[in-house]
């Protein structure tokens, strides 16, 4: 506004500054943020999440208080970021215990450390794995979103049908290869899925994340899959988005967002239950996990279902 007309002289020293308190933080990230890092930039912005590129090229998330804990995520006491006009590409200063963006500053120090807590798979019988897989599948199908790994939604347009068919083929190829212990086949299966599908995190990546986190648990038989996926991510990093690649690498290291970890942790307690009882016990964590993204939650849980089936089959083969 024209200052002569308003009769008011305005001198902006610098733009309004809001300071936010961090609530919780991935312990690995927290260790990074307490060291001097330098200048990074805003990678992308969403209503509840800002993705920031650290000076070393890694990706971290500044999440609003309802977004939930996850690897490389700092949860901050704000409902959302929409009010602060943050744009991709803007500089971010990382000083020990502090992150400064244009107009806002995050006080990292109050953050509680968050660790992914995951169960071991070794104690689970093949039968229990089967029950867990079936009940998870029933819940995912009942409450999940179509359009990704669950198949095309009703009256889908040709493009969605084509993508869903490709996702289905990728899953089939990967499953066959894992059961055949065929590394070259596993590689083809991973490549058939990586970066494929609609939405901000491609559905194929979410699916692989579900298997990847199982492959990181103690007692897993999915080691060969983990090795191949890790190699593919190293060699072909451009196949998918930075966010997806980061999520997959973390899952291989046994680190996933809290809502997904909660589903895994609920599984051991369903021992000796039938499918219906297990579905009842898993219902609440599953519904929270499904609420992630549009089809993302559904696709990740679809990966868990496939992973659990594979674990069960691989155990059976060894017995």
């Amino acid at each position: 506004m024209d200052s002569e007309r308003t009769g008011v002289a305005v001198t902006a020293v610098r733009s309004t500054h809001a300071v936010f308190r961090a609530l919780s933080c991935d312990a690995v990230l927290l260790a990074h943020l307490r060291a001097p890092l330098g200048r990074g930039r805003v990678e992308s912005t969403y209503h509840r999440v800002l993705n920031l590129l650290l000076p070393d090229g890694r990706l971290m998330a500044l999440a609003g208080r309802d977004a939930g804990d996850a690897p490389w995520t700092l949860v901050v006491d704000t409902p959302h970021w929409s009010a602060y006009d943050i744009e991709a590409g803007q500089p971010v200063e990382f000083t020990p215990g502090r992150i400064a963006l244009p107009g806002i500053e995050i006080d990292v120090d109050p953050a509680e450390e968050w660790h992914t807590i995951l169960p071991a798979l070794g104690d689970l019988t093949p039968q229990h794995l089967g029950v867990a897989a079936r009940s998870l599948y029933a819940l995912t199908r009942a409450h999940g979103e179509f359009g990704g790994m669950l198949g095309a939604s009703r009256n889908a347009w040709p493009m969605e049908s084509v993508v869903c068919a490709a996702l289905d083929e990728g899953r089939a190829a990967l499953t066959r290869a894992v059961l055949a212990r065929d590394p070259a086949g596993i590689r083809d299966g991973v490549l058939a899925l990586l970066g494929l599908g609609p939405g901000l995190t491609p559905a194929g990546d979410d699916f692989l994340t579900g298997i990847a986190v199982l492959s990181a648990l103690d007692g897993t038989r999915l080691g060969p899959f983990a090795t191949v996926l890790g190699d593919v991510l190293d060699e072909r990093s451009g196949r998918t988005t930075l966010l997806s690649a980061t999520t997959l690498r973390e899952a291989l290291a046994g680190r996933v967002r809290a809502s997904l970890a909660d589903v895994l942790c609920a599984i051991p307690a369903t021992r000796r239950q039938d499918t219906a009882q297990a579905a009842d016990a898993l219902k609440n964590p599953v519904r929270r996990a499904l609420a992630h993204g549009h089809t993302s939650g559904t696709d990740t849980l679809s990966g868990l279902v496939t992973g659990l089936h594979l674990e069960k089959e691989l155990r059976g083969q060894q017995l």
């Binding site: 308003t6 009769g7 009010a83 970066g195």
Partner: protein
């Protein structure tokens, strides 16, 4: 068939609304199908297999969002692109049928679990009842209606207090909640200044001034005009202060009201100590002592309140405007000896007050329909006398008709009438823009302004008309256009409610002494 594509670098949208876009885009005229996905090799491969990979899509990186629409031949692809862009900025729909309407608050609240606030503008006989239903269904309330018995108001506010809900009103015309202006409000920048106000136009003015200073509003909670009365006891203002004190997005709190009942003032000011944030208090015509003693920052007027809030709550440097004395001298020189009085014709109650109190600094001879001094009280149908300030938004004028912010007819007639009075030196008017207000308040007044000036000119007088436009550059109509139209009509335009009062006072002082 042809392919239309948009590539968005680093997107701004949540995945849920993105997927809604692909559904919506499928429903656009001429769009056969649409697809929203990241620009990965695999996704581009799928598009390639379908023969839809344009060079632009080919060039999309893995981090870019692709929106692809296949359109039927002869479709205006620019229009489709524009429509998709529009979908991108629009919020995702809640889903389900769109045309469902409800008869009762209970039915709406039950069916829409995310509903969190009811705006109630029904006849006062039913208003309290509807407000109660809203509160019982867990909704915060903005009660626009007036004529709600005070006993009912107290009961509603007590219920809201017990439930931890906002009960704004009755007779609450202005609020801004989560950056959404409700009823009469202006489009202002989001920011960190929080306002709790018993005065509608007063809070509109402060919010507009805060915006003009480059800062913004976190929440504007209207309490209703009677909240600080003895009977109601400031329930809503106290709850409002506490809510803003607990709100991390609010850095400074501004309280606006006419001077409260003494006991209530004490209770309200006692909240300042525990707010943990600076509190600016503008009690129109109130005294500084109590405010300062309570640890508050006393504001002398609307502009002062805004300036202090911006200084205390943001890192902006804010300075109040200064009165242009040369301009005043030039005007006074044009006036005849007989022309001695100021006549204020206002829509906004607090704007009337602020201008009237400015004159009252110098003389007690100020008449008004909202005068507290019974000796100087003027009824709506009496002719003006001496300095007169009329609030056309007062119940006495509105009785049965819409607020003058919507229906200006009474004020237009009065403007012409005042122009005939040879003792009138200046006519002061306000023009209020924003949500809920008349779509062109200046335009609708221009013919009456021309007529008034003609009447004076025919009688050989200069009639000074001063106009203040309350609004922002984000309002519709745009502030600058309204100001330009007034200036083109020979109206002197002031920059704030405070300046309007000072301007009127300065002229009054000169013509009375002349």
């Amino acid at each position: 068939m042809s392919t239309t594509a948009v590539v968005k670098k680093n997107t701004y949208f949540d995945s849920v609304s993105l997927m809604a876009i692909s559904t919506k885009a499928n429903g656009l005229d001429g769009v056969a199908q649409a697809f929203v996905a990241m620009g990965t090799e695999m996704n581009k491969g799928v598009l390639g297999n379908l023969g839809l990979l344009t060079p632009e899509l080919e060039a999309a990186g893995t981090g870019d969002l692709m929106i692809v629409a296949e359109t039927t031949d002869g479709t205006d692809t620019d229009a489709v692109l524009a429509a998709i862009e529009e979908l991108l900025v629009r919020k995702a729909p809640a889903g389900g049928e769109s045309a469902v309407t409800y008869r009762t608050i209970a039915a709406a609240a039950q069916d829409r679990p995310d509903a969190n606030l009811a705006v109630i503008a029904v006849n006062g006989t039913f208003a309290g009842r509807e407000a109660r239903k809203a509160l019982e269904n867990g909704l915060n309330v903005m009660l626009f209606s007036d004529n709600v018995p005070v006993g009912e108001e107290v009961a509603l506010k007590q219920l809201a207090h017990d439930k931890g809900l906002l009960m704004m009103g009755p007779d609450c015309g202005t609020a801004i909640i989560n950056n959404v202006g409700l009823c009469f409000a202006n489009a202002v920048r989001p920011g960190s200044v929080g306002i709790v106000a018993a005065s509608g136009t007063g809070s509109q003015e402060v919010s507009v001034r805060v915006h003009a200073l480059g800062a913004g509003i976190s929440q504007l909670i209207g309490t209703g005009g009677r909240d600080l009365s003895e009977e109601v006891g400031g329930i809503m203002m106290i709850d409002g202060i506490r809510a803003l004190a607990a709100d991390p997005a609010t850095s400074v709190i501004v309280l606006i009201s006419k001077p409260p009942a003494a006991a209530v003032e004490k209770k309200v000011l006692a909240e300042i100590a525990t707010a943990g944030k600076p509190v600016v208090v503008w009690f129109v015509g109130g005294s500084e002592e109590a405010v300062v003693a309570a640890g508050g920052h006393f504001a002398t007027g609307s502009e002062d309140a805004a300036v202090q809030a911006v200084r205390l709550g943001t890192e902006l440097e804010a300075v109040a405007g200064e009165l242009d004395t040369a301009r005043i001298d030039a005007v006074v020189a044009k006036l005849g000896a007989e022309q001695r009085y100021v006549r204020g014709l206002f829509c906004g109650g607090t704007l009337t007050d602020e201008a009237m109190y400015a004159l009252l600094e110098d003389t007690s001879d100020v008449w008004s329909n909202i005068q507290k001094n019974p000796d100087r009280k003027l009824s709506a149908d009496s002719p003006s006398t001496g300095h007169t300030f009329l609030d056309f938004g007062d119940d006495e004028f509105t009785n049965g008709r819409p607020h003058p912010m919507i229906d200006p007819s009474l004020r237009l007639a009065r403007l012409v009438e005042e122009a005939r009075d040879p003792e009138v030196a200046v006519i002061v008017m306000d023009f209020i823009l924003g949500f809920g207000a008349h779509e062109d308040p200046v335009g609708v007044t221009l013919p009456a302004i021309a007529e008034a000036r003609q009447i004076a000119a025919d009688a050989g007088r200069h009639l000074e008309i001063v106009g203040y436009v309350l609004g922002t550059d984000r309002d519709a109509p745009v502030l600058a256009d309204q100001i330009a139209a007034l200036e083109a009509a020979g109206v002197t335009v002031t920059a704030s409610s405070t300046e309007t009062g000072q301007y009127a006072r300065a002229i009054a002082r000169k013509v009375t002494n002349a």
